[in-house]
Subunit: 409 residues, 2 copies
Amino acid sequence: MPVNLQHPSPESVLGVRGIRLGVAEAGVRKPNRKDLTVMLLDEGTQVAGVFTRNRFCAAPVQICREHLASGQAVRAMVVNTGNANAGTGVQGLTDARATCEALAHTLDLDPRQVLPFSTGVIMEPLPVERIIAGLPAAVADARADHWARAAEGIMTTDTVPKAASRQVLIGGATVTITGISKGAGMIRPNMATMLGFLATDAQIHPSLMQQLATDLAEGSFNRITIDGDTSTNDSFVVIVTNQAAHPAVTSWSDADGVVLREGMMAVARELAHAIVRDGEGATKFITVRVEGGRTAEECRAVAYAVAHSPLVKTAFFASDPNLGRILAAVGYAGIDDLDQTGINLHLDDVHVVVGGGRNPAYREEDGQRIMGRSEITVRIGLGRGEACDTVWTCDLSHDYVTINADYRS
Amino acid sequence: MPVNLQHPSPESVLGVRGIRLGVAEAGVRKPNRKDLTVMLLDEGTQVAGVFTRNRFCAAPVQICREHLASGQAVRAMVVNTGNANAGTGVQGLTDARATCEALAHTLDLDPRQVLPFSTGVIMEPLPVERIIAGLPAAVADARADHWARAAEGIMTTDTVPKAASRQVLIGGATVTITGISKGAGMIRPNMATMLGFLATDAQIHPSLMQQLATDLAEGSFNRITIDGDTSTNDSFVVIVTNQAAHPAVTSWSDADGVVLREGMMAVARELAHAIVRDGEGATKFITVRVEGGRTAEECRAVAYAVAHSPLVKTAFFASDPNLGRILAAVGYAGIDDLDQTGINLHLDDVHVVVGGGRNPAYREEDGQRIMGRSEITVRIGLGRGEACDTVWTCDLSHDYVTINADYRS
């Protein structure tokens, strides 16, 4: 059961001018599944992406990087589920290229104008003929109001499709921001991919695109973790169609820039949080905020140490205020000169640790009360500076083991 | 059920001249438990230790470091279970000192000649009066043949006591090496401590002691992992009583030095492996060997990435040859210029991956056959150098979650 995450209604997911989406059943791994999605982009659209840092990155990730670097305007994307096309060697690259060529041929584009994405089992050959055979049906299905349908099309073992929308006013014009995502490889391991697509019809100067994609990822998808496993296929793509009637945004520091960037970040964060809420076996949504560090980097390192600790995560699952486990994780996060007597720990509004030791006013029943909640904020003060950072995660439950131990069979 | 690990018979754990061990029931956390152990060392004994790198290290670890640095000859050690005396602030230090002072007073020593060790729940005040009250009984119990009894005395939630012995010939004299250990904090998290004590009656030049402790830890306890959690109390101590009748070893490169060091490493490794075999919920003992790296450090980083991956660990639990998960972990281990086309993967004698892709000769039933075993070697070739390193770990099972989610209640 996902944590406080609803199935999005189709009418709540707003279309973005300049983008049409289509879904088909290609039988990639199993029959009768919507396992092939295309996104068709109008001329004038700008695309930027950030991709997994895993050195064993999948073939489609390599092709995405290559096509984006070619300078050709991206006009289409194709996503298959059921197979990650990772650990597939040279044949995997050939298959990813063939997929792009087939879609480019159908749409009369250069193959470099197509970005491919795959999610599914690692180390199995991609059934490229079935994918290519499914492309015409997916293209024929393409409509501007198919975002919710596409959110379902890119699902693998996600239990809920993930989509979010909002509108903001830029230069007097209504701008729409819509995105979809699917479970992270960290969460849906065998399916090995976090995918996120965030689109807007706003006008944004091309020079801002790559930094925008990086910043949005850093503030959202790069701040979530389930179990620390970085997938081979993680991809996050920002699509800007430039069709809204306002002067192009040329800076993130003026009023329009601030509003647009905050709107895009809010949607990106909602999509990222949805991945955590639908994490394998998740029963709790945990915010880990670290304050008082010398740098944001050390705050982040501490937050990840806490968020990755199986001991901390099982304690949350058990609603057990066994909070020494959090202190232990803070201690091994890699800050060599950390002074433990400066540490503070809050669980929501309960002050648990002061000066590195148990707060004399802390009572176990207060901790117990917070641990019973489905959304909890862990706030750690390092007492050595002004920097802070935040990471979102979930607990570690029996169902995590069940899903990951049993699901392939 | 521990993986291929037997309860040691008392007669198989050999006494070491110059050391007596005693155990008592102090009621630290629960009544009727052997929870207090002392080790009494003859004059002329040398001691060196390595301790957790966790910055939230427990009070006894801080006192151990202080007493070892004082240059006073260590003549006694005291270990309590049930309480880690970690996250206890200034009071924790006062309590650890008081324990040392009480034992020193009983034995007519300087308090700096006593090393304290604690293992148990974090962030609870140490019941120091009960520990001090129990010391006379523990001292009265001290005998040279009480190693197996001491192995039980330092257990917390370990299911099997851990002890190992062997004898080697040095300069014509029989030398005994005996050690005991208890479950790592990583394994027995709430009990928050890996403790290891390795003793020999061999004669070793004092200048070799600290490096010996470091090297033995590096080859044994520092190469095991269960879930990546580094405890606040981890301690490994080497005790050399110098009572065997041979000339002192002054170098690890001559014949006697090699034999003694190998003997000590073998016992240290057996004790470290025992911790993994008795890991929480462990059903498999996994050796992760990484070869062909440029440095041992990068091999170790890859081995740990694989050994820590919850996805890899759950696949082993399920006996599921879902081996792409291993490739993904190799890819995110932090080698920035890793060329995936150089990667090889063997599971025992089965060649699974060649050149970064699935070996055409690999058949799923071969992988399945190996995954069914209780002891498995994962061998990863990086194809970029001559260095190698090895890490030992276990799988991640339902019982891990059960134990860590439920055990405090």
